[in-house]
Amino acid sequence: MRDDAVVAAAKRGDQDAWRALYRAHAGRLVVWLETRAGNDSAVTAEDVAAQTWLTAAEKVADYEGTAEEFGGWLFGIARRVAANSRRRSGRRRTEPVAEAPSTAVAGPDATIAEQDWVRDLLAGLSPRERDVVACVDVVGLSAEDAAKALGMSQVAVRVARHRALRRLRSDARTSLLATSLA
């Protein structure tokens, strides 16, 4: 597979190329990381995303593909960075402090309410299904890029997504029925 012009320029260290890649993928990377955020308040999705971008720049010579497919590769790096962060958190045994805000504070660009709704919805899924649905349905990666990002086959991605959506529909019907009965 050959690099397109943006990726080739990014490999040469061109700042404009990196800006284009960042604009295309940084937002959905943060949203995806927030859907799978752990319980360590010391490490936010933005922290993981920033580390992911630096790691991607270090290893960009290993990447071959287009700027659009760059997302799958980038999400794969993010998954590993998040896993390392979780391992470190487990060793550090972080305890939440009383002064920390219990709810997220909306920033100028974030659609916090929407994200909270999605996060609550995905909470009933298994981590694997949650990752797949968040990649494909929430932030819009292709099945191929999601498979690359999650280290799964495309078939496994489709199967997990199918099961997850079926469960979500079932849960939504149940909650709707409960609401109407109440």
Binding site: W18, R19, R23, A57
Partner: protein
């Protein structure tokens, strides 16, 4: 069910962009990429070559195996005559200490003898039928001789004149 979230377009800071550009300029392809299958292939080739060479060495004619005994490995100097006896049947009175050839005729004493031969000496642990006229210990197969025997298990026809340990063949069997 529409789960799509409106993704915000984030703008990178100038510091981050500078870092990304610097890091990407120093990025080199990792050496380990694609090396796994190559290494596995090389290992498989090495095993195949070694196994093939071993097999060829084992099947090649003319190469002696250290585990196969050739016909010339009968006695390996285990002759230890009890005494310099003279056998009556053969009339040969000389023992053969340290004699190492198979299929020979002698009249000395033998220990651990395994190949057939004809002689007229004393034997210990003899296993194959033969004809001689000496004294025997541990003899198991029928044969015809005229010596004295110890530990004989099957009937034989002994003339009794083959010579005993002292060189006198008197036909005594034990």
């Amino acid at each position: 069910m529409d789960l799509k979230v409106e993704v915000p377009e984030l703008e990178p800071s100038s510091v981050l962009l500078e870092q990304l550009a610097q890091l990407s300029q120093g990025s080199v392809p990792s050496a380990g990429r694609g090396g796994g299958p190559k290494r596995a292939l090389m290992a498989a080739l090495s095993v195949t070559v070694i196994a093939g060479a071993s097999w060829l060495t084992g099947t090649m004619p003319g190469v002696a195996s250290p585990f196969a005994h050739g016909p010339g490995h009968g006695h390996a100097g285990v002759h230890a005559p009890a005494e310099p006896a003279s056998d009556g049947a053969s009339g040969d009175s000389s023992a053969a200490p340290g004699q190492a050839k198979a299929h020979h005729q002698d009249n000395g004493n033998h220990t651990g003898q395994t190949k057939p031969h004809s002689n007229s000496g004393n034997h210990t642990g003899q296993t194959k039928p033969h004809t001689h006229s000496g004294n025997h210990t541990g003899q198991t197969k029928p044969h015809t001789d005229t010596g004295n025997h110890t530990g004989q298990t099957k009937p034989d026809q002994a003339g009794g004149n083959g010579g005993n340990g002292g060189g006198e063949g008197n036909g005594h069997h034990t």
